[in-house]
Symmetry: C2
Subunit: 341 residues, 2 copies
Amino acid sequence: MASQQDVAKRARVSFMTVSRVVNNHPGVKSETRERVLSAIRELAYYPNAAARTLNGRGTRNIGMIFPHKEFVLSRPFFIELCVELESHLSDTGYHLFLGSVRKETGSLDLTVLFKERKVDGLVIFAPERDDESVKRLAAEGLPFIVVHGRSDAVEYSYVDIDNERGVSRIMRYLFDLGHRRIGFVSGNMEEVNAQDRSACYRRELEAVGVGFDERIVHTGDWSLESGYEGFRALVGRAPAPSAIVFSNDQMALGAIKAAHDLGVSIPGDVSITGYDDIKYASFVVPALTTMRQPLDRVGEAVATLILERLDGRSECRRVILEPEFKIRDSCGPARAGGSPP
Amino acid sequence: MASQQDVAKRARVSFMTVSRVVNNHPGVKSETRERVLSAIRELAYYPNAAARTLNGRGTRNIGMIFPHKEFVLSRPFFIELCVELESHLSDTGYHLFLGSVRKETGSLDLTVLFKERKVDGLVIFAPERDDESVKRLAAEGLPFIVVHGRSDAVEYSYVDIDNERGVSRIMRYLFDLGHRRIGFVSGNMEEVNAQDRSACYRRELEAVGVGFDERIVHTGDWSLESGYEGFRALVGRAPAPSAIVFSNDQMALGAIKAAHDLGVSIPGDVSITGYDDIKYASFVVPALTTMRQPLDRVGEAVATLILERLDGRSECRRVILEPEFKIRDSCGPARAGGSPP
DNA sequence: CTGTTAGCGCATTCAG
DNA sequence: CTGAATGCGCTAACAG
């Protein structure tokens, strides 16, 4: 494979001149430049990334870290984000790296990826609160940003969607429809997002003077199955909730199945809401009322922030995006009566 | 960041000895080895991948190439495969690389990733038949394998699922239920998979003496929307099909929505089948009868094959996995009558 | 068993 | 405007 040396020979210059041309350095006679350029083309020369990295130019790789397998599988959501991110990043010459899905066996040391010179930066999805590996990254001053997760203990840049706004908007909507007994199915409570949404649900409830009742709260894990189970459990309580808020669409989809199996009508008997607005949310019957996460803007923000960190600009930034409420067909007015059998 | 030199100094040996220890070379006195090992630990030393690559040791990166954005988005399916693959590959020290989703702007030159020393090998998903960039890879003898796509023109290793078997099993099932007028909604016909399934549908039809009728065939693109459209279109034909075969689950899901909007009952009026068995297939109502792709085994096979290619073993292998028919609730017996209004 | 020398491909000095 | 020397961190080939 052609190296700068080969190109240099062919263009009858030193390899230094080739280097300058490759890197668009000024101060190369245009005639010489042309000669080099055509030699490059003829030999199909491409700069060796490893050599560049060795000279301290970075890797131009960005790693993505997911908390665990199920995280990826249960959120078709995030794939779209990856694609979005890839398209933004590739414009600036960066490549995306599946920085390995974290093992069940404890949190692995993410600094290794930097020390091995595999990546220049990391995008970490939904770490646990006060995650050790994130702390270490911050302590060593490594460039990374977090998506869906914030921390009060550690200073870092992150992008998130306003859960506060999202959940309270949903709750107000349900209140307006006359619902008072509103159940909740959470995501995996080890994740900050799940915690936030859950906390906000409780706060809103208390804000209107409706007490929090743990009997109509189910701890799920974002999966279809846990949504199914959650619905089943909550509807079986007495008195049953007239509406149930799910922490993501996937679980709400599971609930629709459960409702069918139980002979419960949505929204006739029980209203439900999702969160994310995955593609399928508008295709399920009944179409899901849900809170859309603005993926395109998240992707853009993530790209911008990580690039900033790589530039060495030191301030950490937080970008909180607004979700968009999508009212569809899965909610109805609360019925005067009670609940289905 | 600590280099071999630093470790060497601390362990009072030359850096060569450190290198030997790091690479598990035999012939280092165990006492010395211990000293080096603890120096490594104390300094948190990790070998610099760039330097290794520069010495011709490869990158230990495998790139994944997707045909286009929509491909990824329309198949939650493939994400699972990535995760599966990642877990197999990381065991052998390889990292996955999102080798960039291919742009709309013509097929980019994949050999660049090799020339730039970004990857050691490539896993290419669903390339077009006789794709130029695949041809070039093969011509240059670069290690890559293809998933979902084969070629008669070019020699390469690939993993696929037996579409032949899959589709014919579905067709026989429908025939057994008494269906004769069977519609078909294809995937994006630029992909080999879509072509194969489509061809097989036709062949099976003719095998039982039922003529192929292009009026009940719709060309989709794997998306929910195209499934919706396809169903709508086919059901509107006269005489309407009593069953429709969809080339993937996503489109079948779109059809379920369409049926609801049209007031058509599945499987009462029309039977439908999907393909893939995505997670949601068993949660939708009616649960989708579909052909399961054995993702875990695909992931395993892909990992094995690409590793073989990297080893330099020269023969190309083809691995054809068997799909598994999942009979659920979306098909019923053909009714004597005709079709719904 | 351990150390020395050389070079992978490139970019940053500094000289011409 | 161009070239020569030097080193990034590591390993392979040879010496001791």
